[in-house]
Amino acid sequence: MGSRLVGTFVLGLGLSLSALSPVWAGETPYPSTYQPLPSSNVLLQNGTVLDGLGGQFSNADLLINNGKISAVGPDLTAPEGTQIIDATGKWITPGIIDIHSHLGVYPAPGVQAHNDGNEVTNPVTAEVWSEHGIWPHDPGFNRARTGGITSLLVLPGSANLFGGRGVVLKNVPSRTVQGMKFPGAPYALKMACGENPKRVYGEKGGPGSRMGNFSGYRKTWIKAVAYRDKWAKYKEALGKAKPEDEKQPSAPDRDLQMETLVGVLDGDIRVNMHCYRADEMAQVIDLSKEFGYKVTTFHHAIEAYKISDLLKENGTCAAMWADWGGFKMEAYDSIRENIPMVHHAGGCAIVHSDSEVGIQRLHQEAAKALADGRKAGLDISKAEAWQWLSSNPAEAMGIGDQTGSLTVGKDADIVLWDGDPFSIRTRAEMVLVDGALLYDQNNQEYQAVSDFELGQPGNGEEK
């Protein structure tokens, strides 16, 4: 145990000395150990395919080879030994990706001991990482998989202005968090607007108002810029120093909080900001320009429909619910057409859950939003709507090159639905991650049971 600790420390130090920019943003002392589970080569035949990029194909086949998508189209032929699955009457889609989850950090059972999602001790906790709070045995991961979730971003909560780092996971059962970490995925920084931080800290030293929120963001970014410059100066000096010089440049002290923020300034860490109101999102866009970073995604974005043009202009996604809102003032202007209106304006619309219940039915959220949009006169296809569930979140999370669409060469993260996934009667029949079958509705051997649920009432029942 002791030697491993020392080893990690030395590794971290070595990295930070050897690179030009603060590499701690992109590298991590807690690397992914994820390995795709064993898979066979599979040919799904004669299904309705939504490719996740806006395309729909009837009577189409999909071939999986070595855990990757190797072909999509009509009448494919498969090499010998390929497992053939008849998908007649069934639908094939990319796995669903939830960009806003607290699975593992607010696990079931939701007992006091399990509150690991918010470091409610200071409004600025950019130094904490959600992966250090994730309990991999949360039964919610398995339930989410039965709803077709193949990847997810687990974020810290929204109590703080800077909540900490979020981590992208492959939704696979594992004994360790590292075994779930999506290889190569960038980290996220969770930030929060509006009511939550000022409610939590209003009587604990502030911020106590939206003004205080903004001064808190700005003061912290000013520190981050200075920290970045200090390290740059040091590295420059290090580059110029000769071995024979008597006085060698000394490294600045490390600051975990600042390391995450510099990761954002350098473009390695993606800002995911909880923000409801349109006017507030507009202010945050200016804030990001003031300090030279980008907000990748606004989360909840209840009023995104009011500024869909602004979001499009700035290339910022909006992750939204289909029809939840109303519970606080900043959620008061919730409308059911938010998602389709952002999409229709040419923006990046994402369906998110923020819920261990909602994550099991994100496709149903998309279906409701699509129906509401159509009823209001917006002409959007089911195939386009699937982008809200797979390619848009994948791009926003920085894993779009690996997953999120049925493109040749991408990870075979796939759901076979027993019918049209926009129907209430349809369920996921099979869920594959990197080509490996991890859920089969009709075969209990492929229905994962978490350690927590083993031997409990209902063990062995379908959930």
Binding site: P109, D323, G326, R361, A367, R374, F422, I424, T426, P457
Partner: protein, 423 residues
């Protein structure tokens, strides 16, 4: 019976009923909700606030002077009846001034009445109506005692009824939450409940308890509830708590008990059936959210139904803003084995039956209140929505603040020069 008459009077006296016209809905797929009967190309005839005839197009003669509304290709159903909600009792949950769902500082418990907190003009009422809900049970939440108070049955028309709706049931919080409220254990909460009932009965016999647990107003309210045979709506999740509830019912005798929550109901389904305890559940409850829900499964509804237990369904976790999502919650039982008619009845006729108003609501048959919804497809489907809603024969406005916000910000082309506030 008294309660039933009062409710009926309310609707007869309400101004909308007077305004309702005589008309017939023709050509639609009519879900009568009566013995599972579905009439393709059905006709529903409405006179005033009542349905006077339902049948096939060829069997029904529309009286002269009745307007005919053709809804070919649409579904016609009874209005939805939500068995558990706080719609109209809260505007913005986190803003205390707008939230009348619970009363932690009040000295009263059973005496509290949901109807006093109900605002027909609440935005939540309108958005609920737009999704096909015409009737709801509303109830106060429990906070400082296990009794939340007394619930009422209301409509979603947004109009002011002539009379105040009478108490329709008593809400009681047991299980984990109730144990916490009552002093820290289930032993405490069940003792509290038994003692409360004993006191109410003592008052009824004219004997004031020496050291009463309940205030006089609460004891009187409980006594009246027992006298009027109002259902006890009890929140319990764990199978052992449901067994406690069964024993409580046996002890008290002659009392109508509805279990709400009941995630582990399937584990004691036969006992519930035998004890004639009906259940209001949320099909989406399939996670062990607490140690009282370890056995949670999507198959709860199916298993309870198969055992003969009467089930109603609702969104039990967002009961104000999203009470309107009942069709999705009920619809999800279709993929776990429940038949369509049972799932639909669980959000329409069964709640009416649970609260003893099935003579008036929940079915499209002659003599019933004219609460109807015209849908553009299967009401349990995700992509269906109501086109028209009628409450007591009156056509409802299909706008809400939400739809107006939508219309204001919907792209209307380049000719808009003034700010959105002028649109």
């Amino acid at each position: 019976m008294i309660r039933f008459l009062t409710i009926l009077t309310v609707f007869i006296l309400s101004p909308m009923a007077v305004l309702a016209a005589d008309f017939a809905i023709t050509g639609g797929k009519v879900i009568t909700n009566h013995n599972g009967e579905i009439i393709e190309n059905g006709t529903v005839v409405i006179k005033g606030d009542q349905i006077i005839e339902v049948g096939t197009a060829s069997s029904v003669t529309i009286p002269a002077g009745f307007e005919t509304i053709d809804v070919k290709g649409k579904w016609v159903t009874p209005g939805l009846f939500i068995p558990f909600s706080r719609v109209g009792m809260v505007e913005v949950a986190l803003e205390k001034t707008t939230n009348d769902t619970r009363a932690k500082e009040s000295p009263f418990s059973v005496a509290l009445q949901a109807i006093d907190s109900f605002n027909p003009k609440s935005e939540n009422v309108a958005i609920t109506r737009l999704e096909g809900v015409t009737r709801m049970a509303i109830l106060p939440d429990a906070s400082h005692t296990i009794f939340g108070g007394r619930g009422a049955l209301v409509d979603t028309s947004g109009s002011f009824a002539g009379e105040r709706a009478a108490p329709a049931f008593v809400f009681i919080e047991m299980g984990e939450a109730g144990a916490g409220i009552a002093g820290g254990s289930r032993s405490a909460s069940w003792t509290w409940l038994r003692q409360a009932v004993a006191e109410a009965r003592a008052w009824r016999r004219g004997r004031e308890p020496a050291e009463p647990l309940l205030l006089a107003a609460d004891a009187l309210a409980l006594q009246q509830a027992l006298r009027d045979d109002l259902p006890f709506l009890v929140h319990v999740e764990r199978a052992s708590d449901l067994m406690n509830l069964i024993h409580f019912k046996e002890e008290i005798g002659d009392i109508n008990v509805i279990a709400i929550g009941a995630t582990e109901g399937w584990m004691v389904a036969e006992h519930l059936e035998k004890a004639e305890i009906s259940v209001i559940l949320d099909p989406h409850d399939n996670l062990p959210q607490g140690f009282e829900n370890l056995g949670a499964t999507m198959y709860n509804a199916k298993k309870l139904h198969d055992a003969g237990v009467t089930i109603a369904m609702a969104d039990l976790h967002d009961e104000a803003f999203n009470a309107r999502l009942a069709p999705q919650h009920a619809g999800n039982t279709l993929a776990t084995g429940l038949d369509w008619s049972t799932a639909f009845a669980a959000i329409s006729s069964v709640p009416a039956q649970m609260f003893g108003v099935d003579g008036d609501f929940g079915q499209l048959v002659a003599g019933m209140e004219a609460d109807l919804v015209i849908w553009d497809g299967d009401p349990l489907e995700l992509m269906s929505a109501p086109d028209m809603v009628y409450i007591s024969g009156e056509k409802q406005d299909m706008q809400s603040r939400q739809t107006q916000l939508r219309d204001r910000y919907m792209d209307k082309g380049a000719d808009q020069t003034l700010p959105h506030a002028y649109r």
